[in-house]
């Protein structure tokens, strides 16, 4: 509800803004606006995946929404048989692969725009093309395919597009599922509006996926004060061992 109210206020102020300053420009411009039902995805001790709900309005046209996590380099390794054992023998490193990606589309996926534009905007899973220093094109393609297949099986890349639910003609809702192994970091949600295959408007909204509470404290301490963390772990273990010894002695 809060999100909807916020969205409403946002749209209202947008129109007021455009009315005051841009009154000479036609109001019936192509536009898309989105907002998130949550300000962030919080990972606490009980976290086992979450869903992110996005609301928005749009004028006429084809709509695509993407969500992507922070980019990391990923190494794809391939096993082969050496002296009877299966060993990692070959690898390709891909640059700037989003650790999480999902998308949703209204309308025909292939008809929405040209492959080139979709690729540039990062819409769709088939159009994904991660860069790599590998020169062998066939090899790169093989490893690229494996990368997408494995990340899909981990729920971090989609198998196909999610559904956008039209609540009214211009008001829509879409839901993305973030699995329990979703990496932390800054995530970007972006909406794209197309008319006749041409991009006419886009709207971006960022949100963090972050550990909160005890989890966050532990993570922070482990990363920032690793010496103290390591020694505390040992101290804790010694105390537990000593405690359990005392327990037996009493018996």
């Amino acid at each position: 509800m809060i999100a909807m109210r916020k969205l409403f206020l946002f749209i209202l102020s947008y129109f007021m803004f455009s009315f005051i300053f841009l009154s000479e420009i036609s109001v019936a411009d192509d536009e898309v606006v989105i907002d998130l039902a949550q300000m962030q995805i919080s990972i606490n001790t009980g976290f086992n995946g979450d869903e992110l709900v996005i609301y928005g309005t749009r004028t006429k046209g084809d709509l695509a929404i993407t969500i992507r996590g922070p980019d990391h380099n990923m190494i794809v390794r391939k096993k082969s048989k050496i002296m009877g054992m299966w060993v990692n023998t070959d690898s390709v490193e891909f640059n700037k692969v989003p650790v999480y990606y999902d998308y949703a589309i209204i309308g025909d996926e292939t008809g929405i725009s040209s492959e080139k534009i979709l690729n540039e905007l990062g819409i769709g899973i088939d159009e994904m093309d991660f860069s790599s220093d590998e020169d062998d094109i066939l090899k790169k393609e093989l490893f690229h395919e494996a990368l997408i297949r494995i990340r899909q099986s981990e729920g971090l890349l989609p198998l196909s597009s999610e559904k956008i639910e039209n609540i009214t003609d211009d008001f829509f809702k879409v839901k993305f599922i973030l699995p329990s192994n979703v990496p932390t970091g800054k995530y970007i949600v972006e909406a794209f509006l197309f008319n006749d295959g041409k991009l006419v408007d886009r709207f971006r909204k960022d949100f963090p996926v972050t550990q909160v509470g005890i989890s966050a404290e532990i993570y922070k301490m482990a990363m920032e004060h690793s010496w103290l963390y390591g020694f505390s772990m040992v101290l804790f273990a010694v105390l537990m061992g000593w405690g359990s010894h005392m327990l037996f002695r009493r018996r």
Partner: protein, 303 residues
């Protein structure tokens, strides 16, 4: 109930980890082994990154080591001088082990090396234990091994830095126990096991120490190498998970209690056959992982 592991950055069923802790604790209560050889592969099987499994296991071994050694200390079954000499080698072994671990992780061979080491070490030692316990099952009284043969050999007597270990009643070059400790330290850092199952026979057959002293002394040594390795893993690799460690340790404390209470029903040759069978089974399971064609040739690592 799923619980989120802040360092592994994934959630696991808390019951499974607790149960693992209880079972491992039970084993150490009954047999006096650390049980790292069981829990590290099991955690990896649950999908916990090998690096986190190994790093966290080290902290659990500290707890079970302290609990065990306190009992031995009271009975005077710890040769502290011997333990300290072994520790010298153990520290060096742990440091080198951490670097090897980091390097193997970089080259993508860490899984292979961990599995291969498990297969070789567990296979050989489990097999020997099984063979010996079956033998002594049939030959009542057991075979009396000629211990300390190595010490009177040419090589050992030529080594410098001879030291007298009053409590163990042996006179030997400090390099030999230090080397045994070194190998133990390597194993802690690379495999996340205390290495007791390797140290114990080495101390009995190479140093010729009495089995009674060996258990306490090896545990004494293991506490420090695992503690050291915990800190090193925490600092160098950030792979010690507090939540995972708490679950393992709490489960372990309960398990040790049950194990000690049940030890009298499980004593003797039958128990040793059971333990060695379990070690051999894990070795075979790991060997399958190496030898059987994988379902997927590819794997992905996030940098």
């Amino acid at each position: 109930m799923y619980i989120y592991l802040p360092i592994a950055e994934m959630s696991v069923p808390a019951e499974a980890i607790l149960a693992l802790g209880v079972f491992v604790g039970f084993l150490s209560g009954v047999f006096g082994v650390g049980g790292g050889f069981l829990s590290t592969p099991f955690m990896i099987f649950l999908g916990i990154p090998p690096a986190v499994a190994v790093g966290t296991q080290a902290s659990q071994l500290v707890a079970s080591g302290v609990s065990g050694v306190l009992g031995h200390l009271k009975k005077g079954n710890v040769d502290i001088k011997m333990g300290i000499v072994m520790l010298g080698g153990g520290f060096i072994g742990s440091i080198i082990g951490i670097f090897i671990f980091k390097m193997l992780k970089h080259f993508g061979q860490i899984d292979l090396v961990i599995s291969a080491l498990y297969v070789i070490l567990l296979g050989v030692i489990g097999g020997m234990m099984l063979f010996e316990s079956i033998l002594s099952f049939f030959k009542k009284g057991g075979s009396d091994k000629k211990t300390g043969d190595f010490l009177s050999g040419k090589f050992a007597s030529k080594l410098p830095y001879k030291m007298k270990f009053e409590q163990s009643k042996i006179y030997v070059s400090a390099l030999i126990p230090a080397f045994i400790g070194f190998v133990g330290g390597l194993l802690v850092s690379i495999m996340g096991i205390g290495g007791g199952f390797l140290l114990v026979p080495a101390m009995i057959y190479i140093l010729g120490m009495s089995p009674l002293l060996v258990a306490g002394t090896s545990l004494f040594q293991i506490i420090f190498t695992t503690a050291f390795s915990t800190v090193l893993h925490a600092v160098a690799n950030h792979t010690v998970d507090l939540v995972l460690s708490v679950l393992l340790i709490v489960g372990g404390v309960i398990g040790v209690r049950v194990g000690l209470a049940m030890a009298k029903y499980f004593g003797g040759v039958g128990a040793r056959i059971f333990l060695s069978l379990m070690i051999v089974i894990i070795a075979i399971k790991m060997a399958f992982g190496l030898l059987v064609e994988p379902e997927d040739y590819f794997s992905v690592v996030v940098r």
